[in-house]
Structures are given as C-alpha cells and as structure tokens.
C-alpha cells in the first residue's frame, strides 16, 4: 500500500525524524493561509502516488502567499502527468505547503527487502536529490548497503557505519545514525516494503531534515496495523479497482479491449501475453485468486462487464483450489443478473471440470467454449475482429 508524502512525513515526525514545517491543503485559499502562518518562501507539492512530480511541474517554489495561491491553483483539481502515471495522469486533490530549507548537502537513504539475501537492506548515498536508480547504474560505488538480519535487528554499529560512509562531521554522523535507527524501527515495526528519503538534507545550520518521504507497506501485514490501513487514499485507486478490492479481487485497468478473467497471477499474465500474440489487447488484469468462490467470480464478471472499453471477454480458468463448478455457478449467476451482449470465450480445465462444464451447458447463457488456450485466444481475436467488421 502506498501513502502520500504528507502522510509519510507525519509518520516520520511521530518517530522523531525531522521534516520541514508544513501542512496539507485541499484548496488554494487553504494553501495561502498555511503559507501566511509558516512564512514565505515555501514549496507547494502535489500529493499523488507517483514519482517524477518535480519534472512534471507538480513541485513549485513560491516566494509569497499570493504565489502560493497561484501555484496551488495551477496544481489542484487537475491531472498531473509524470513518467509513472501513464498519459492520463493522476488528479491532484491535495498539496503540501512546506517551509523551504537551506540546503548544504543532499543525501539518500532507502530501506527495502532484498529477496536474494532474504534480508532487509539499508542503502545510503552522498549523491541524493537525483534519480538514485540512475546513480546505482552508473556508479554502484556511490551507494553503500548494509544488510540487516531481522532475527538480530539493526545493531547500532551498522547504523553508524552507514552514517559514517557519508563523510559528514561527527555531530551530523551521530544524527544520521540515530535517524537510520528510527527508520529501521519504522520499517520493521510497521511491515514496510519501502522507506525512502531522497533527499535527506543537511541544512546550512547543520540540522538534518527529510525533504522528501516515501513509505510503502506490505499489504499482507496491514491486518496488524489498522492505523496504517486507515491511511489509504481511495481516490488514488480507479473506481473499478476499488470495487474489485472490496471483493478481494486483484484487478488492474489497462488500455485494451479484451476483458480477461483468470485464476492465478501467472496464468493471468500469460493470458495477456497470448492475447497480444494473437493481435488483440487486454483491457485489464484480473486474477480471481486461488481461493475464489462463486460470489467472487460473479462479482469479478460483473466488474469486467462494467468496463465500457471491453469488446470481448476471455475467461481462462485452470482449477486447483478454485473448482470449475464454483466458477461456472458464479458466471451463470452473473449472467442471470446482467445483460450480456458481448462475445464471451470460456476455457475451463482442472478440478471438477466435468461438473463445471455441465453447469455451463445447462444454463441459458451463450458463450464460446475452448479446450486449450491457443484455441481460446484465436476465438477471442476473431470475436473482436467480428465486432469491428
């Protein structure tokens, strides 16, 4: 789960990590009022779940409260298009208005899970404030990493060694070492999948402050952090994705015209790959999961059909935990409640496949049936062509 920069900074502040003074605003008037309280100059920062806001014009410096009002007006209630949002961009509902800081030095700190080493990893660089992945590619030596054994936790000496690498003076090194310890406690304690500060700024006064803040959480662990789960901004998720999530479905809207309903992420991706191979284009990724029941299938089918871009539906199920008869029941129940005027191709295989096929055959629902993926994909491609012709 992603949260906004301003939310991440509130968490930082609560665990003793210094952040610039600032507040979040939903309107230009509010933004202006905040700037009047803080004193100018300030930064006005679009709050959306996407990187690359700066280059896209989503981060502005304002010298006066009036300029703050104008900057907020420019940004708010409009889509911001960055390299991560896709061409449609993301609508900005809030801006963070923040006091500027006098930057002496920009550093980078990141915490993530290293799958290969099966550990948490803490990375630091003295070249913060830029595209860190670019740095990592061009000059791997510029990034220093410590791996943390979770059964031990973060020993102080590792935090100190990270801070020490940055070449700061003794007081700053001590501050950064403490900050890294606080970050790790946050990362481990709240089941984060990513914590990143880029840049971590050394101010001209010598103070250390997190100028940006990015915190992602492990969805699977949210059950033990209800206070974190409550931070989710549902406006960041497309309405269909939100609906799918409420039904425990994994749905992602894409740009094509073939609606897919598949069980298992791997088969779903393979199905999308195959749709492209036969010349069509997937309208979505939809994994009903291994443990789906009738009702989930029914809901999944209804979500698919409610996407106006969908011109044909490809249901590809290979039953394991998900039994084919349950799938069939779900589809038949959905077909009884919604009008379906699209071609539907169903490919069914696996656990209880005979019972599943029987259920479908006995229903009044019209669909094409395929016994293998290749045939199914061909039928789907033909159906799309047919509707176009």
């Amino acid at each position: 789960m992603k949260i906004h920069e301003y939310q991440a900074k509130e968490i930082f502040a609560s665990v003793g990590i210094p952040v610039p003074r600032g507040e979040v605003a939903a309107t230009p008037q509010e933004a202006q009022r905040i700037a009047e309280t803080l004193g100018s100059p300030v930064m006005v920062k679009a709050q959306v779940h996407a990187g690359g806001r700066g280059k896209a014009g989503g981060i502005r410096r304002a010298e006066t409260p009036k300029q703050v009002n104008e900057a907020a007006k420019d940004i708010l209630a409009k889509p911001l298009v960055t390299h991560q949002t896709g061409p449609g961009g993301k609508r900005v509902n809030r801006v963070l208005v923040e006091k500027t800081v006098n930057i002496a030095n920009e550093l980078y700190i990141g915490l993530a899970i290293d799958r290969k080493r099966r550990s948490s990893a803490i990375m630091v660089s003295s070249r913060g404030g830029v595209e860190i992945e670019e740095i990592a590619r061009q000059d791997p030596e510029a990034i220093f990493t410590e791996w943390i054994d979770p059964t031990i936790g973060l020993p102080v000496f590792q935090a100190y060694r990270l801070a020490n690498y940055l070449g700061l003076d003794q007081a700053q090194t001590r501050k950064v070492s403490s900050l890294i310890q606080a970050l790790y406690r946050l990362f481990a304690g709240k089941d984060c999948s990513l914590v990143e500060i880029n840049p971590l700024v050394i101010e001209r006064s010598g103070e250390v402050v997190a100028l940006d803040a990015k915190v992602d959480f492990d969805d699977n662990a949210l059950f033990r952090h209800p206070e974190i789960a409550a931070l989710q901004d549902e406006s960041e998720v497309s309405p269909l994705e939100l609906k799918a999530k409420a039904f425990n479905l994994n749905y992602i809207k894409l740009d094509g015209n073939v609606g897919c309903l598949v069980n298992g992420a791997g088969l779903a991706m393979a199905t999308m790959d195959l749709i492209e191979l036969v010349g069509a284009s997937p309208a979505n990724f939809l994994d009903v999961g291994g443990g789906a029941d009738e009702t989930m299938i029914e809901n999944a089918f209804c979500i698919l059909l409610s996407d106006p871009a969908v011109e044909a539906v490809f249901i590809n199920i290979f039953g394991g935990i998900l039994r084919c008869d349950a799938l069939a029941q779900g589809i038949v129940r959905a077909a009884e409640t919604v009008t379906i005027d699209l071609p539907v191709v169903i490919r069914l295989e696996g656990t209880n496949v005979k019972e599943g096929r029987k259920v479908l055959r006995r229903s009044s629902f019209h669909f094409s049936s395929a016994t293998d993926m290749q045939q199914a994909a061909a039928l789907v491609a033909a159906a799309v062509e047919g509707r176009r012709a």
């Binding site: 191979l277 994994d287 295989e349």
Partner: protein
C-alpha cells in the same frame, strides 16, 4: 525416481479442519497420498476425512512419525505453523497459504535453515510426483508419470503447462511450485540441481514471471551446472511497468526483473525460451522426443 516425495512419504495436514484443508485432504488421499494425521489446535480426537486430528504437530509426529507436512492454515497463522512443523522435526514442509507478511517469512527462513527443514512455498500449489504422491492443490488427473521435471513460480500456469505435456503423452517426474512470494523456501536453483541428479528426469520446464531475480539466478546456475535440456516460459511480457500484478514478486522496478531481461538471461544460458504459453508442451516434446511423429511445432 522422483524428487523430494515418493510413495513412502507420510504427511500430516496442518489446518485440516478448514474448508480447503478438508477438501484437498480428500483429494490427496484419493490420489494415493499417505495422509497420516491432521493438526488443528483444539480439535484433538476429532477426525476429518477419516484422518485423526491432533492439537499440535509434535503430538501428531509422536503418533505417526510423519515425514512431511502440508499447510492450509490462514495467512495470519501460517508462518507460525511452518515453524511448528520444523521444530517438531518435519523435514519437508509445503505451505499452500498465500498472503503471509514478508517480514514473517524472512524470520521463518532463518528458523528453518537452522533446523535443516526444507520449505516449498508459501503461496504455492504444492508438489506432485505423478502416481506416487501429491502434496498440493493441483488437479491430480492432469499429470502423468514421466521424464520431465517442472518447476514454476506460478500456480495455474503450471497446470496449463503440465496439461500440455500430458496431452502430448509426456509425463512428469515431479512438478514443484516454488510460490510467488518475495521470500520463500526452495528456489529454482535448489530444484534444478535435484532434477539434474534425478535419474528419472530427462528434461526440465521452468516457468518464471516478471519481478525479482530468481530467473536470472537460475540462468547463471544452469549455464554452470545443468546438463539436461531446459525449456522456459516467462509470463508478463505485456504487463505494464511498475504495476502490481497479484504476486508481490511481480513488480517491475527499473530495468531489472523485466520479462525481456529474464528471457535474455535464460536464452544466453542455453535454455529454450518459448514465446507463447500455449507452446511450452510442444517445445519440450520436440526436444525430448525429436523423432516422434504427430508433434505440434512450437
């Protein structure tokens, strides 16, 4: 011979009294798997699908001398269930459960490594050695006994590939799902070397997907250590950048972990990489039975 499990494997089912546990216990018994006990705290003395239930794995172990455990307990309790099995002396644990927090799995792996217990999964369909033993949720009937080892990060995509193989008359020595989670048990390389050393296995199918670096590591390992032919498919070539695709593993970050990077690494290692997921079986058939008539062309 198969790898990891065979007709002598005696398994317990943790979470046997739940819906899925009960359903798949019945299917595994039907397949011929020796399920010797079940475990659900608080249900000792009951039976589920005619299997006696115990409160703890150590009690089930003491009574039956089980050698493996398959886990169906809910995600909040699954990490604990894996550790319980290992601590009780079970040397092979298959965890079907998905949705276990990553940090829990990091601890579990260290705990298991200390005790010398092998884990398959979590978030896996399990393992099957056709006609010998099934410890998983795959549909048994799609499998046939034979010469191909299958190892996969995906669940249903594996069924698809196995189905293709069996339809073409090519059986499997053992099929293993390593699970789609960032931190798990046996890796591609752990299994490839076991297949390499297994006399029954003549070739292997590797099914990967975007995210992480498991396929790249497998490629490096294959180049160095694997002599038998390997056919691979990598799912997710058309998945959009930086979007979550259901498995935590399936996130593309930067240039690493992309399908094209994985495909290139595997191809460079001498692996036959298949473009269409519908052609994996046919490709393996061509390699393993080059002179057979009536084969589909990849």
């Amino acid at each position: 011979m198969s790898i990891l499990i065979d007709q002598t494997t005696k398994a317990i089912v943790q979470g046997i009294t739940g819906n899925e546990g009960r359903f798949h216990t019945s299917r595994m018994i039907d397949y011929g798997t020796k399920i010797v006990a079940g475990v659900t705290p608080g249900k000792e003395g009951q039976t589920a699908e005619d299997v006696l239930v115990y409160n703890t794995v150590s009690a089930a172990m003491a009574a039956t001398g089980a050698t493996a455990s398959i886990i169906f307990v809910p995600s909040r309790f699954a990490a604990d269930a894996i550790m319980e099995a290992a601590e009780a002396g079970i040397k092979l644990v298959i965890c079907i459960t998905e949705g276990i927090p990553v940090q829990d799995m990091i601890t579990v792996r260290r705990y298991l490594d200390r005790l010398g217990t092998i884990l398959i999964g979590p978030n896996t369909p399990g393992i099957i050695s056709p006609n010998k033993c099934k410890l998983g949720i795959m549909a048994g009937y799609i499998h046939r006994e034979g010469p191909v080892g299958v190892v996969s990060r995906s669940g249903t995509l594996t069924y698809e590939v196995v189905h293709q193989l069996s339809q073409l008359g090519i059986g499997q020595s053992t099929c293993v799902g390593i699970g789609g989670d960032p931190i798990g048990g046996l890796s591609f390389t752990d299994l490839l070397i076991r297949f390499e050393e297994d006399p029954q296995t003549r070739g292997m199918v590797l099914i990967g997907e975007i995210g992480g670096s498991a396929e790249e590591e497998a490629a490096a390992y294959i180049a160095e250590r694997i002599k038998k032919p390997v056919v691979a498919f990598v799912a997710g070539r058309t998945a959009p950048l930086g979007r979550r695709m259901g498995h935590a593993g399936a996130i593309i970050t930067g240039g690493s972990g992309t399908a094209s990077a994985k495909i290139a690494a595997l191809a460079k290692a001498g692996v036959t990489v298949v473009e269409s997921p519908a052609n994996v079986g046919a490709t393996m058939a061509k390699i393993i039975r080059p002179n057979n008539r009536g084969l589909l062309i990849a």
